[in-house]
């Protein structure tokens, strides 16, 4: 059952799940070898093929829409004042 050539295999040689492989790719934590393996894997794994685009789009949307803007301008000054008060 185990594929010794699978670069996602864990140290105990346990077979990685699709979810684990997809996440590693999505989150930019895959090696070149893992990327190549996953490309081929997607050709015959419809759930991974479908999930990849959706998950990647969602990740990019979260990045662009949830940044939240800048901290209030007086926050840094307040923090610095508090530190000065406590250390004096």
């Amino acid at each position: 059952m185990n594929n010794p050539m699978n670069p996602f295999a864990k140290p105990d040689q346990q077979k990685p799940t699709c979810m684990e492989m997809l996440q590693t790719i999505l989150d930019g934590q895959a090696t070149e070898e893992q990327k190549q393996y996953f490309k081929v894997h997607m050709d015959h794994c419809m759930p991974c093929y479908k999930s990849y685009d959706l998950d990647m789009s969602l990740k990019q949307l979260v990045q662009s829409k949830c940044c939240g803007g800048a901290a209030p301008t007086d926050l840094v000054e307040k923090i610095k004042q508090q530190i000065l008060q406590k250390s004096s």
Binding site: C18, E20, P47, S51, L54, P72, L75
Partner: protein
């Protein structure tokens, strides 16, 4: 308080000031956004960030200059939120993570829990929907999405910030993303994107 087990440092007052200004303060906007997403209140977020920076300064000798200040600060903020802020407010219902994670590590999961959501409908969302859906998630789930997708932390860093094993980081992230997709899927349906 430290992220890595490091010997206590012995900094002069000048060095402390330099570390604080050059290594801690550049992360203030990310910290404020994290604080806001956790508390959902701008004043509470300010207090939480302020408290975090004061603690960081107080424990600055546990921080090794030039190491991962951002992860260290995020860890302090997360702990402050759990220990101080959340105790003051109403304690939310706990999720049984062991049960969730055992289930989500099973091979059935990918087939069973793929919400009916399409890339096209995602792209029509203007921003508030994504932000509101993220805010509505349980704190532990939104935290992993913020750390990974917004702040770009690696699984290993997240494991240290959250005090959980890497396998748990992965499964919680997977669960969080599915919950987010479920929320957005409901919204997509209301926009008329429910047709195949």
């Amino acid at each position: 308080m430290e992220l890595e087990e490091a010997p206590k440092q012995n900094y002069s007052e000048k060095e402390k000031g330099e570390i604080f200004n050059q290594e801690f303060l550049p992360h203030i906007h990310s910290m404020y956004n994290f604080g806001y997403r956790l508390t959902l209140d701008r004043d509470d977020a300010k207090d939480l960030v302020q408290d975090t920076y004061l603690k960081a300064y107080r424990f600055i000798e546990s921080f090794q200059k030039g190491t991962n200040a951002k992860a260290w600060l995020f860890r302090i903020l997360k702990n402050s939120f759990i220990n101080d802020y959340r105790k003051k407010s109403k304690e939310p219902a706990k999720v049984d993570y062991q049960e969730v994670e055992t289930y989500y590590n099973s091979e059935e999961v990918d087939r069973q829990i793929t919400p009916d959501l399409r890339v096209e409908s995602l792209k029509d969302m203007i921003g508030d929907e994504i932000s509101n859906a993220l805010n509505s998630l349980d704190v532990d789930f939104k935290t992993v999405i913020i750390l990974c997708d917004l702040e770009g932390f690696k699984y290993e860093e997240m494991a240290k910030i959250l005090d959980i094993p890497i396998g748990t980081v992965r499964s919680r992230l997977h669960r969080a993303r599915n919950l987010l997709k479920e929320k957005l899927s409901e919204y997509a349906k209301s926009m008329g994107y429910n047709k195949a």
